[in-house]
Amino acid sequence: MNSKAANNVATGVIYALVVAVVGILVFLLGYILITGVPHVSFHFLTSAAESFKSGGGIRDQLFNSLYLLVLTLLISFPIALGSGIYLSEYAPNNWFTNIIRTAIEVLSSLPSVVVGLFGYLLFVIKFNLGFSILAGAIALTFFNLPLLTRSIEESLEDVPDLQREAGLSLGLSRWKTITGIVFPAALPGILTGIILSAGRVFGEAAALIYTAGQSAPMVSYSNWNPFSPASFLNPMRPAETLAVHIWKVNTEGVTPDALQISSGASAVLIVVILLFNLGARFLGNWVYKRMTAAK
């Protein structure tokens, strides 16, 4: 076979593989959206779930997912930012740093159901948090930290060393150089990392079943006191999220329209995660342009 033919064959194979990947994605998305979207309505998004009757919605689950996401990011972002800065800017190249990196890799490959059970034993039982949004948020932090740390570290490392040298050569301290020059230059990448990890957190179910719980007690959306048990802001209440709801309706749902509800909820979940992904690209590009291009 001459080199031209070999090239054609290789190109053909590569194209076929790409088509396969895209095809699987399109098929999945299309199936979920086509079966789910017809069941999504304003009523579906704004009413509470029903236990036995049909016609229930996903209002509380949708809110719980968002609230849990915000809490998770509030806990995990500062930790990930600190460790990302350490790893990219300060960590010397030695055995200790290698241990940290290996630990992060191991943490990122822990199955989420294991993280969930660990969270159940430690937070729910031992620390007596009960099934609660807080326990869920801490479990999700464990799940989220490795990837977020990695993405922040990589965004910081993408900033050329020349920028650091420029800051240092002007008599700025290392810390001022990092906060004033390196961090802003890495911001688009960091934002993208946060939003992509938000998508993963939003769709997570296994780690939450044993931590945030599987029930969505009645809450009042007009009670803004986070210490009141009936408030939607109370982090100590159990909270079934959208992803957990899909799993539960499918396994033990007794409502006549369980299938429709799980299809509709799946469609909503997918759409929200897609929005996160598109939003990440858009926001990242927008911030980058704001910072680099002419006003």
């Binding site: 240092l168 050569s169 002007l170 008599g171 700025l172 020059i181 680099t292």
Partner: protein, 264 residues
Amino acid sequence: MQDYSFDEKHIVHIPTEKALTTEDLQVYYGKNHAMTDASLEFPRYRITALIGASGSGKSTYLRSLNRMNDAIATVEGKIIYRDTDINSKKINVYEVRKHISMVFQRPNPFAKSIRENITFALKRNGIKDKAELEYRVENSLKSAALWDEVKDDLDKSALALSGGQQQRLCIARCVAMKPDILLLDEPASALDPISTAKIEETLKQLRKSYSIIIVTHNMQQASRIADYTAFFHMGHVLEYDKTENIFTNPEIKATEDYISGNFG
């Protein structure tokens, strides 16, 4: 390339005021002895060029002068600035770099506006007065011969400038800090001839109020702008004299061979 003796040296002393002096400076990268016994005196308000082939140690030497090599190399010996050895552990390196500033080979403006590129370090060093900041922006851009080209676009991103403009902005950024000494590490090697000429013109103007030490690969550039020139060879300074002597009547064989293009 033939071997040259490192014992045969011709290093002059500076009769006029000195900006910086190094005594027996040694630089090691791990076990690699990259710079040996560099003892040079740099005149105040003059341009000194450091020339030599790639790997001769001239950039290594330059970066040691404001302690930019601290993280990657071991530097021994004395660097005397205003009667103080600034190569001492007790010295605040950030303070040193406010007096001895550096411009790099590749332009490295911050991903900020032109104005902020200049004001950023000033603000972080405690200058808050708006009028003073404005004055320094205009003044430093004028000394870098960039003001006329950018005065209407100060809020545009510095990354939108051409390479030559970016490099002059980097010079302006250093000048705005009002340092004593400017170190330049091949500042024009990534630029076209017209931009290079502008940079050289800028440096000639800056010589009136700054002491400048410049590393260059370009021997014409050294002969055009430098008052003194040091020739580096394989980690040793072999010759240091007035530029005209170096280029017309070098004392050392290695210098003569290098400037006549026999190696390097």
